[in-house]
């Protein structure tokens, strides 16, 4: 079974700085998707960024980018120019294209951006 591990339960960063959130996963599949979701204090889950495993190019969405290392099964999220509104829980998730129609989530990590 696939597993997703977020080893850092909590991090803090100063406003305008850059922070990297780590995620590792375990799978024997080769065709899958990886996601980072954000859950602000409102608790609404929001997709931050998506990476397709067959694409070598790292996904980027404005200030958010990923470092996808397929061989190492690592999928880290970099947030540049951190803003107060980035304060949230962040969840890494895995989707197997050829398997069950479910997302496997990591346990999440709490990011606090300080002024």
């Amino acid at each position: 079974a696939q597993t997703v591990t977020q080893s850092q339960p909590e991090m803090s960063v100063q406003e305008a700085e850059t922070v990297t959130l780590s995620c590792t996963y375990d799978t024997s599949e080769s065709n899958y998707y990886l996601f980072w979701y954000k859950q602000p204090p409102s608790r609404q889950m929001i997709l931050v960024i998506r990476q397709e495993a067959y694409k070598q190019q790292n996904a980027t969405e404005n200030r958010f980018s990923v470092n996808f290392q397929k061989a190492a099964k690592s999928f880290s999220l970099k947030i540049s120019d951190s803003q107060l509104g980035d304060t949230a829980m962040y969840f890494c998730a895995f989707y197997d294209r050829g398997g069950s129609e479910k997302l496997v989530f990591g346990k999440g990590m709490k990011l606090t951006v300080n002024p």
Binding site: R43, M45, Y95, R97
Partner: protein, 112 residues
Amino acid sequence: SQTIHQWPATLVQPVGSPLSLECTVEGTSNPNLYWYRQAAGRGLQLLFYSVGIGQISSEVPQNLSASRPQDRQFILSSKKLLLSDSGFYLCAWTPKGWNEQFFGPGTRLTVL
């Protein structure tokens, strides 16, 4: 555009009482539907998912059940709530053949 609704937003129930949480999706057909529970400060636990009307897969054996009486309606139920059922319940949907899940606003359940 598609929209997902959950109600109620907040619920306080005594131990032993029944539960019914409802989730509906608008603007799509034949979605996959999911129920998650999130304990305070914790990750998401998948409870049930459904790929079609009347088709329910259970991930965690407990005193909760789910039903899908209509294509875009997903209901989470319990006959007798336990204290451990307290938490934040999220419904999500995804189009067939797609991977990203879209989440509802959630229901905060407190069992006293």
